[in-house]
Amino acid sequence: MGQAAMNTGVGPALEPILRVEHLTMRFGGLLAVNDLSFDVARGQITALIGPNGAGKTTVFNCITGFYKPTSGRVALMSGGPQSDPAIAALTDSPGRSQRVGRGGVYLLERMADSEIAAQAKVARTFQNIRLFTGMTVLENLIVAQHNWLNHASGYSVLGLVGAKSFREAEAKAVEIAVAWLDCIGLKGRADDPAGALPYGDQRRLEIVRAMCTGPVLLCLDEPAAGLNPRESAELNELLLSIRDGNGTSLLLIEHDMSVVMEISDHIVVLEYGKKISDGTPDYIKNDPKVIAAYLGVEDEEVDEAEAEIEG
């Protein structure tokens, strides 16, 4: 990224892991997302911001398969750079994914929610926390590793007879879970029900639960909502460590500008389902369209409004 992005607002020249093109989602008469295109860069933190009701969560739901978009393409390129012709070929075929080397191309708009999580390795959290409140913290993280553990249990046959290979796999899963709990300082509460944790801990638990699925792309819907400043700062660290330590790319929706501006590498701004700006934090901060959207006034009135507030 650099000057070009600064000046034009065009996305960074980095190689994308997720490419959203002409995404449209219609609910009856309401166009919640309108012809939206943007990229999520590999190994970076991309933020999706916008006023309430702008359609951010809807974009997430389209990416993670909870909604079927009305039209548009959502391509995930895992493993490494993928060529445009390969994506185009897949789009023309009836297929949903194409494995290439260690990774592959996945057309997420064609896949169901659980397949996206299991095969394309996109994990997410929810705006309203969705933990398994009646299960312990540890159980939450073990459930997140269901697919490979279930396989290791020989689809329950080996597990029923208590095979050694399964017991080892389970110990490994616990090890992974404990490592993540250590990371957010909740190891001591592993045996508490998740619903009994304080709000901030629940948010972080939901994030590491998503990480336990081993994702290449992690989508977080307002992870800082309801957190106090200290918790926000801890969250920033956690997200940066996920980006740097695990090489996971992040896409996050956030209203808390202290989080957004501090940790994101790249920001996409949405208003009424349309993209109004796209660039680095510095660029976004100074984009009059963004300021207008947030203050809800026309461009030229921004200055007046600011003057009034100050005066």
Binding site: F27, N61, F126
Partner: protein
Amino acid sequence: MDYFLQQLINGLTLGSVYGLIAIGYTMVYGIIGMINFAHGDVFMLSVFIALILFLLITSLFGGLAIAVALVLVLIIAMALTALWSWAIERVAYRPLRGSFRLAPLISAIGMSIFLINFVQLVQGPRNKSIPPIIEGGFEIQIGSGDITLSYKQILIILTTAVLLAAFWFIVQKTSLGRAQRACEQDRKMASLLGIDVDRTISLTFVMGAALAAVAGVLFMVQYGVVNFSDGFVPGIKAFTAAVLGGIGSLPGAVIGGLLIGLIEVFWSAYFSIDYKDVAAFSILAITLIFMPSGILGKPDVEKV
């Protein structure tokens, strides 16, 4: 052709009864999201009440015209059935408001078991039958054959239409109807705005039961025989009607009722009478699986 028309009339008559019961299911589901499993048995109870009232009134006032007697029976049966339904809601459902989701359903099943056995106990297990109340009808010549439009059928279809119109007026135009719709949308907000939610829900049960009682009186007029176990199957069919029409939708319940009545009658007429209930249950399953929001219901998109 005449056979077809005859079945059509029979189907509409039966469908009117289902539609009236279905409204009770649909309203309660709309407002508290619960399947009032005991509603079919409330209907059965209302048939018994109507039967006893009819016998009582005709024996007390020997010379009374049948029409007057039936109107009296209708009004008193509606009131008494509504009283039962109010009591049921008060005892079995209200304490469970906002609790564990399965609890009201289990409670309703318990209530259903209670009602069936209560009626069996106090009225005995045998069928109760009375001689036909209204006989005769119009013979209409159509093409080569005759069809019969009995007075009973005219009475049933007319009563249903009139009461549905009155009921529609209550739900659309009165403050009670507004309060109901408000509770449907957001119960907490409605109560903050000063709507007595408990009272509104009780009145919903009362209205549903009153319409079930209308169905009960019409059932008595049409068939003149009832058994304590007669609540379950009509109840399920009326529920099917509610689902088919789109649960929560009042016109849907009526349309669903008519459809179920027609399907049942035509199925029995052209295919096999043994499997007519299988047909009803299959329609229920097929509707729920392929068209869970019914004909007029709002699609239920799960918000994430």
